[in-house]
């Protein structure tokens, strides 16, 4: 079931102008933008990979930031 969200007038006008320019509805464009902009579930918990994390820890130890 569709839900309502509240946007500032300015943001709504911007969204509407963008939707009009593409010949789409505001709802459709809002959904597209939200889907593209939101992080995936994985990204919410994992900003960097385990492999990257180990390399970073090595550098941080080398620099004295970590014991």
């Amino acid at each position: 079931m569709p839900q309502s969200i509240y946007l500032s007038d300015e943001l709504y006008e911007h969204l509407k102008a963008h939707a009009d320019s593409q010949g789409k509805t505001v709802d459709a464009v809002a959904e597209e933008v939200l889907k593209a902009g939101l992080p995936s579930t994985d990204a919410k918990t994992q900003v960097y990979s385990k492999e990257d994390e180990e390399k970073v820890k090595d550098r941080l130890r080398g620099l004295g930031y970590l014991d």
Binding site: L11, H14, V33, P39, A43, K57, R59, L60, Y65
Partner: protein, 384 residues
């Protein structure tokens, strides 16, 4: 509380490595090239290292229009100042959309590849008015904007030259501070931006922040300076004297940030907050006239702008100027002290600089002796 996601939800990492790096270097020798100045090199590196997440490259017309008119990217993320690669029409005509450009610094060193998506003509006056709130060329940011070419090259970047200079030992990327804060067990961290050695007023704000959050991230901005400013190495040395002698080691992280200063006041304060969010900060200190210049902005304009951005994703710690009160016998602000103006010693950066330049004694109520000594250890602490 926990460390925030990067702005836009994803930490941008556009640093080429391994085979990709080697192939890019080989390709670059046959690509058209563009020389960029030292300030643009900083923008390129900051984009590719995730300092400006979620931005992945120089702005397209759509991103530029959106930023100027709504202070948001087209997807709705707050974004106050466009990141632009300007050039002349003649130069832009030599490039083709869809091709790669080799970006080189002024010494000819290959820095990055720009995947050119768009060339767009845009009014620099309009950019200046929207970003700086004025087109007065006395404003240094406006003067620079009006002076630049009015064709903008847009597209994502891939970083080739990833050396951690200057100050290799104190130059962390957002991915590094995020790992570090996590290893230290911080659930909350305050970001503190500075361009000067710490006086007692700064230290007061830093201590207030340490009372509120698990960690304090002192992040001096280094780079292009004006005559009379402290040299970058002096700022770092003075901060080391403070952090290593006075603050609890486990709770304070010191790392510099090479960043172009635009002097855009309130909008730049928002950019600085986003940057610290990307470094993993949950809070950010904004004092009087943050990133302002001359009298172009009111002392609390930056603080007020944050009130209009409830979805920014970082909490702003707003402070007025602090001073040493000779009756309270402590550092205070107008919020915490009832005494008169003439009871107060204000640690003005300009006044302290003059005392240091003239060899005069600096009161420990204004700046700690250890910091004064760290500054005076340099034969020439100021830019000439």
């Amino acid at each position: 509380m926990s460390l925030p996601l990067p702005h836009g939800g994803r930490l941008v990492q556009r640093i080429l490595k391994g085979d990709d790096l080697e192939q890019a270097k080989q390709r670059a020798s046959d690509l058209p090239s563009l020389t960029i100045n030292e300030e643009l090199v900083k923008d390129v590196k900051n984009i590719c290292r995730g300092v400006f997440s979620p931005v992945q490259g120089f702005f397209s017309r759509q991103e530029l229009e959106s930023t100027l008119s709504t202070m948001r990217l087209p997807n709705g993320d707050v974004w106050p100042i466009p990141l632009l690669l300007s050039t002349s029409k003649e130069q832009a005509d030599a490039f083709t959309e869809g091709e790669e450009l080799a970006l080189k610094d002024e010494s000819g060193k290959l820095i990055a590849l720009l995947h050119l998506k768009e060339r767009t003509l845009f009014s620099n006056e309009r950019i200046a008015q929207a970003v700086f709130g004025t087109t007065d060329p006395k404003h240094p940011g406006v003067a620079e904007t009006l002076d630049q070419g009015d064709v903008f090259l847009a597209g994502p970047l891939s970083l080739i030259e990833d050396s951690k200079e200057p100050f290799y030992d104190f130059n962390l990327d957002p991915i590094e501070t995020r790992v570090l804060f996590s290893e230290k067990g911080f659930d909350s961290v305050t970001g503190f931006q500075t361009r000067n050695p710490s006086h007692r007023g700064h230290e007061y704000l830093q201590r207030c922040a340490l009372e509120i959050t698990d960690g304090l991230f002192i992040n001096p901005v280094v780079g292009k300076k004006k005559v009379g400013d402290f040299r970058d190495e002096v700022i770092l040395s003075a901060y080391r004297a403070l952090v290593e002698n006075f603050f609890p080691k486990s709770r304070v992280v010191l790392s510099i940030l090479p960043l172009r200063m635009r002097y855009a006041g309130p909008k730049e304060a928002v950019l600085h907050a986003i940057i610290r969010k990307n470094f993993g900060c949950t809070h950010f200190v904004v004092g009087r006239d943050h990133a302002g210049v001359g009298s172009f902005y009111g002392p609390f304009d930056a603080q007020k702008l944050f009130d209009t951005l409830p979805d920014l994703g970082i909490e702003i710690l707003k402070f007025d100027n602090s001073f040493y009160c000779q009756k309270c016998l402590s550092i205070a602000t107008s919020k915490t002290c009832r005494h008169e103006e003439n009871d107060r010693l204000a640690p003005s950066g300009t006044a302290i600089r003059q005392m240091l330049q003239n060899g005069a004694a600096v009161s420990p109520h204004l700046m700690r002796d250890e910091i004064v000594a760290a500054i005076r250890a340099f034969d020439q602490p100021f830019i000439e």
